[in-house]
């Protein structure tokens, strides 16, 4: 998958500081692209722009050569074709685990009830959650909730999966549970873009890395090269800090 970004800018709050500042990038990755960098560097904002949840102030994004639209109906179609997992509170609390997966299949993708139910059950099975189908989100652990959220994102068969720090609100045990699940998804053919603070994990699953700081791309390329010998002093300092322990 090829991700091209040209002179992208996004201020947040609107009109204030530029969180993404004249960012350009051209990277082709195999399966997993990790967006890394210090907090406030623009990783999550970039992911939201790729997800079509926000519009850039300037610039453009091309995914496999296709320019991302700027009008809401086309953006909605774009969002329909991908899966997003946020930090937390992904699930709709008034729907059961299986209801959370079925609802978009029926209402957005137009599946009939039987097909949506079968697919939702299959996803829960695959992610080891079949015993929790009828539970509401507040009856699930944090790790289980994130796994249901991943099941919901995967169910319609998206062309791209986006993860925005999917484990940052979890304790270490649950983090491991979710990370091993994401690791397992590498076998599927769905490409993933991942914002994470789990550097060891990024090193393990990512084939390519984009290092962002101050709203710009400082470095991008194969993960092995990035982790072995980062070319910018900022990336080097960042890695030595986060990998020190």
């Amino acid at each position: 998958m090829r991700l091209e970004i040209r002179h992208l800018a996004k201020a947040f709050p609107p009109g204030r500081r530029r969180v993404i500042d004249d960012l350009s990038l051209d990277i082709t990755f195999g399966h997993v692209l990790a967006l890394l960098g210090p907090s406030g560097g623009g990783k999550s904002t970039l992911l939201r722009l790729i997800a079509g949840l926000d519009l850039p102030d300037e610039g453009e994004i091309l995914i496999d050569g296709r320019r991302m639209p700027a009008d809401e109906p086309s953006l909605r179609a774009h969002r329909t074709g991908l899966g997003v997992v946020f930090q937390a509170f992904n699930l709709f609390p008034h729907r059961t685990a299986i209801g959370n997966i079925e609802l978009p299949l029926r209402e957005v993708h137009g599946w009939d009830a039987a097909r949506a139910r079968a697919r939702a059950m299959e996803m829960l099975d695959r992610l080891g959650l079949s015993g929790h189908a009828g539970k509401f989100p507040d009856q699930l652990s944090g790790g289980q909730r994130q796994r249901v959220a991943i099941a919901r994102a995967l169910a319609p068969g998206p062309g791209l999966l986006l993860f925005d720090e999917p484990t940052s609100s979890l304790d270490p045990e649950m983090t491991a549970e979710v990370l091993s699940l994401i690791d397992g998804l590498r076998d599927s053919s769905t490409p993933m873009i991942l914002v994470t603070h789990e550097m060891g994990f990024a090193r393990k699953v990512a084939d390519s890395v984009v290092f962002l700081a101050g709203g710009k791309v400082l470095e991008s390329g194969p993960a092995t090269t990035f982790f072995a010998e980062p070319s910018t002093p900022e990336a080097g300092a960042f890695l030595s800090k986060v990998l020190a322990y």
Binding site: L53, R76, R79, G83, V84, A88, F92, P104
Partner: protein
């Protein structure tokens, strides 16, 4: 602290519902005993009081029914007005937003009695609204709509932004986002105070007696002037209102417990 002193005022926090229920029954018994005492002495003084009021039971019953009708109509209409006010308050169009704020502040800043007098005598006549009942329902709805608008707005605001992100991320349209995500979650927050507001509406409708709508309070006043029996006219009035508001308050408390079991 509060829960321990005000058994009935605690929203279930820390107080065993059975203990609270037992207290309620006990207090109701005491209250009934007090009433019986008052009634007994009053009956001794004014023999035949109840018989003369009993002759007018049809008037009271019709008034009571009209109060129910007025309240239900006003509830439906005020829900629509409240929903509109809540949505307009969130509008990006400044005149609409300011209009909604002005409406809410004007209504909440003036007494209902003043609104009834002003809107009925100064406005309704001018715009050619002759029907008392229609005017009454409309005034009551405008009044309650301002309060409901704030309740609905708070309910919608209580849905976290991450839920809206998730809804958009799965591909929902704005309408689907409202239907499947925002409103069902807002409803949990809205329902208990909404039931409470309905109880207020029932009581507030008594003020419509001042513009000559023959609802429950006016009916009791008429019975009183026909029979000269104050206690026998007004005690059924109080009981009649309680018969309506108590179930609604109990419903509100039940919803509160069911929808917010953790609080």
């Amino acid at each position: 602290m509060r829960a321990r002193f005000l058994v009935l005022g605690s929203p279930g926090g820390g107080t065993n519902p059975r203990v609270a229920g037992a207290w309620m029954v006990l207090l109701l018994l005491l209250l009934s005993a007090a009433c019986v005492t008052v009634l007994g002495s009053s009956a001794a003084l004014t023999r035949g009081g109840w018989e003369s009021v009993w002759a007018y039971r049809g008037v009271l019953l019709r008034g009571w029914m009209l109060t129910i009708l007025l309240s239900v109509l006003a509830l439906v209409l005020s829900l629509l007005i409240g929903l509109l006010a809540a949505l307009l308050r969130g509008s990006r169009v400044i005149p609409l937003r300011m209009g909604a704020i002005l409406y809410v502040e004007l209504i909440r800043g003036t007494p209902l009695l003043a609104q009834i007098l002003f809107l009925y005598y100064a406005v309704a006549g001018t715009i050619g609204l002759q029907d008392r009942l229609a005017a009454g329902v409309l005034i009551l709805s405008l009044f309650a709509g301002a309060y409901l608008g704030e309740i609905i707005r708070a309910g919608i605001a209580s849905v976290p932004a991450t839920q809206i992100d998730s809804a958009r991320a799965v591909g929902f349209t704005p309408w689907q986002t409202h239907r499947f995500v925002i409103l069902p979650q807002a409803l949990r927050v809205i329902l208990p105070p909404l039931a409470g507001q309905f109880a207020s509406l029932i009581k507030d409708s008594s003020l419509l007696s001042v513009i000559g709508i023959g609802e429950f309070t006016l009916a009791a006043q008429q019975v009183n002037s026909a029979t000269y029996r104050t206690l026998e006219s007004y005690l059924p009035l109080a009981v009649g209102y309680l018969a309506l508001t108590l179930p609604v308050s109990l419903l509100a408390r039940h919803l509160e417990r069911r929808l917010h079991p953790g609080d």
